[in-house]
Symmetry: C2
């Protein structure tokens, strides 16, 4: 069992989280003002009153300043929990709709949309998101394999997993392209329907 309990969280980790939130917020403000490419790490560091070294230690790359989301690991955990009593598809569907939309109102939705815009429109950020999706896919299929006894490295499970993830990401892209008009939850639901039902020849 992956006993990943939400431990009390020491002072050290609390400070780090606070710093990361602060840096991300400062960075996004600068990006909005001057454009992603024209804002240097050095400027973000100065504005946030930390050293550039720290930013790299926290986020690793410039793109991860946009991509980082403190609730990401919670998603995977929520999925793992539900898998004990549910089939993978509906478990994933619930996590991707209920939990995602729930988290979006814990944080404010406006902030998520601002991040989303850079994920969609800044090529380097989008590429990094793709890499992140790959890693998520690996964890996801291992989790599914653990609960269902399937071969985690079999072609079928691998293909199913990436199809679901890329459907989710395309739902987000669709949401963005249509000006965040409709509810994300419905779009994600619709995208998963398409994958689940399979292809119909027009």
């Amino acid at each position: 069992m992956t006993e990943q309990m939400t431990r009390p969280l020491g002072l050290r980790e609390r400070k780090k989280l606070k710093a990361m939130r602060h840096i991300q917020r400062v960075a996004l403000d600068l990006f909005d003002r001057d454009g992603y490419a024209h804002v240097t790490i050095e400027r973000i560091a100065a504005e946030a009153e930390v050293s550039p070294s720290s930013i790299y230690r926290y986020f690793g790359t410039k793109e991860m300043i946009v991509l980082w989301d403190e609730y990401d690991p919670i998603m995977l955990q929520a999925f793992d929990d539900r898998l004990a009593a549910q089939d993978p598809i509906s478990a994933l569907r619930e996590v991707l709709t209920e939990v995602v939309t729930a988290a979006m109102f814990d944080q404010d939705e406006q902030f998520i949309r601002r991040r989303m815009t850079y994920m969609m429109e800044e090529p380097s950020v989008r590429a990094s998101m793709g890499r992140q999706a790959d890693e998520t896919a690996v964890q996801l299929r291992q989790t599914i394999a653990k609960h269902t006894g399937r071969d985690p490295d079999g072609l079928e499970l691998r293909v199913v997993t990436v199809a679901l993830i890329s459907a989710f990401m395309e739902a987000i892209a669709y949401w963005h392209d249509s000006g965040y008009r409709d509810s994300l939850r419905e779009i994600v639901d619709g995208a998963l329907d398409v994958i689940e039902r399979g292809l119909r020849v027009g």
Copy 2:
């Protein structure tokens, strides 16, 4: 109609193509010897006897030296051609199996495998491939929309397209991870089957 005939190809373009092939081959040799990260553009340029500027003009980025494939545009064209008389799924299936495997013996397969290894194992190359896949997805769904009258920006077509492409890429990854043991054609066929039939709850 996208009358993209294979025009006679002037001297200028012929030289450029020859240079790009040469640079790619030289670069891969160096990568194999010293590792992707330890080979600088400057070294590639020196070894290939061109200027670093030219490499950037040809490929744009270091990753594209690995990713570039002169037959890529031909694939899309082949797909467009078949779409006039076939449904999208089987047209894509044919292109992704027949044409891909055919092109692999025009060039030598060993060379493609070497490139593939960097695409799979070098994170930055893999990320760039993801970006390239996104662009392909856009063109693909516009082509399908043109032939079937569907909405090119509708959620359903968007999701179907990215699902097919990511299934194809996962097939390649599977092929790589299993040591290039089975035939790529069969793996791709199997991956497309999974998408086409839809998901079964275990």
